[in-house]
Subunit: 301 residues, 2 copies
């Protein structure tokens, strides 16, 4: 990398703290009625998430010289959307997972009905936060409408939710590479791309910068999923926080299953290169984005 002194781990740690403390401020308190619901919402938000999406949003803003505090509410909103999707994905009718990041899943602690509603509450809370004038005072109204539109589109039926549906259908029949790419560009990629695009927009990116960052976001989002598929095979359980090989057992289509482990690693490396190339016109402010793309791949190799 250009700056060898630059340290990713302390940077990530500091950003996680920054995002966590904002999430704590923006979420309804656990003493807000109905308390059990708010407790359930908070349980999953604070269950050890790596805050990849908020961190990418902050880093995209930083890359174009924007102010972090103008992105912080949207960064928290995207983490709420991500958390809602995990709660619903884990439900017995969906992936039926008992553990997530080493902790019991929401429905194991609060029951299915409350878990469904906690997910619904978090998704809705994201839009409350994004449209809150007192919190978003510094941002012109037409800009936060665009932010809301990006967030909603990327997480809806033609984005994340759509990817989840095709992923479920794929469990019943063998899928090819284009279908697998569809699943991941939608299920995981869409929200990661949204994080980057919103960060760029609120950071004041030129349209050229925004397009370049979107190219980065597309490649990084897919790389993230390829790496996840590889990790599901090679990691030990403590690293993963869920059962090793659980995708395989479930008959899920994965990159290693379609391309072989070596092929999947090669694909991940290509995606990293594509992400880094997209950032060529940026200065050192984009260093966190560069390091994150590398880190995403490295954790699986």
């Amino acid at each position: 990398m250009a700056d060898n002194n630059w340290q990713l781990q302390p940077y990530l740690k500091e950003r996680v703290r920054f995002v966590d403390s904002a999430l704590d401020r923006y979420l309804p308190g656990a003493d807000t009625l109905p308390t059990r619901l708010h407790e359930a919402m908070r349980y999953s938000v604070f269950a050890g998430g790596k805050r990849i999406r908020p961190i990418l949003m902050l880093a995209a803003c930083e890359a174009v010289g924007g102010e972090m505090k103008s992105v912080l509410p949207a960064a928290c909103a995207i983490e709420m959307v991500h958390t809602y999707s995990l709660i619903h994905d884990d439900l017995p009718a969906m992936d039926d997972d008992d553990f997530r990041r080493g902790n019991p899943t929401n429905h194991k602690v609060y029951g299915e009905a409350t878990a469904i509603l906690a997910g619904d509450g978090l998704l809705t809370e994201a839009f409350i936060l994004l449209s809150d004038k007192s919190i978003q005072a510094a941002i012109p109204p037409e800009q936060f409408c665009e932010v809301i539109n990006i967030m909603a589109k990327s997480s809806g039926s033609r984005g994340m939710v759509g990817g989840q549906v095709v992923d479920m259908e794929a469990e019943r029949s063998p899928v090819d590479l284009p279908t697998l790419e569809y699943i991941h560009t939608h299920k995981t990629g869409a929200l990661i791309l949204a994080a980057i695009e919103i960060g760029a927009l609120l950071g004041g990116a030129t349209s050229q910068q925004r397009r370049a960052l979107c190219r980065y976001g597309e490649a990084a989002g897919l790389a993230f999923q390829v790496a996840d598929d590889i990790l599901d095979i090679v990691a030990d359980q403590s690293q993963l926080g869920k059962d090793v090989g659980s995708d395989q057992q479930r008959g899920k289509a994965t990159y290693p299953a379609l391309l072989g482990l070596t092929g999947a690693r090669q694909h991940a490396a290509e995606l990293r290169e594509r992400a880094l190339t997209a950032l060529e016109g940026f200065d050192l402010s984009a260093q966190p984005l560069r390091e994150i793309a590398t880190y995403i791949i490295d954790r699986s190799s």
Copy 2:
């Protein structure tokens, strides 16, 4: 009523057609990928809903002399939010209902997983529509941010979703009248009030008109639920489209259970009077709102 020639039924019928055709335009087509998901979303939206919330929104706009076409997207969005809440309420983990308005519920047709995601998709679609600049071009951006905020707050964990959680908890232990009022002002009332408030706002209401319409919306929203509780006891199944007395069997707290049938009817009549009183300063443009408040109560007496 002031205008005896005024006909509610043809008015409602025409508005249902108007809203239905807009919903058909705004929702992703059943041939949009993933097709099964969009089919499931459309199935519940077009399962015979009475469009009470969109019609109230249009009527509130009309009452202050606003243009209906400026409210139509928001009217469709609120129906999407309402439909998502029904799909999730009917799930086996929640109310476990097999029929809704005489038709099999979403999960009975598409399976639980798709039903959860169809609900998620509809909730998100509402916010896509509300933040779509090309559709909302006539409305100033700061106004549609306020609309999004009202919609999200009324349907989130401190609104509709919160009411649903307390309603579920109430099945396990006897509830008193204040708890029952909490359930209904949140579970049903919040979204009806939002319909009225958004209609007023987009119709260009003065702040005095808006406050008066909100008083109407609060009373009408509660009246609607009291009437629903009464109907659950007195209606025959063809009128209800679900099992008669199903609330009672489930041990749900209802107004007739707490106040007796006569007491519940009296309460409904008081709420209607409160709704009508709120409209005293309005001219004939508010006639539909007046007739709807009366109709809500009459259908249960």
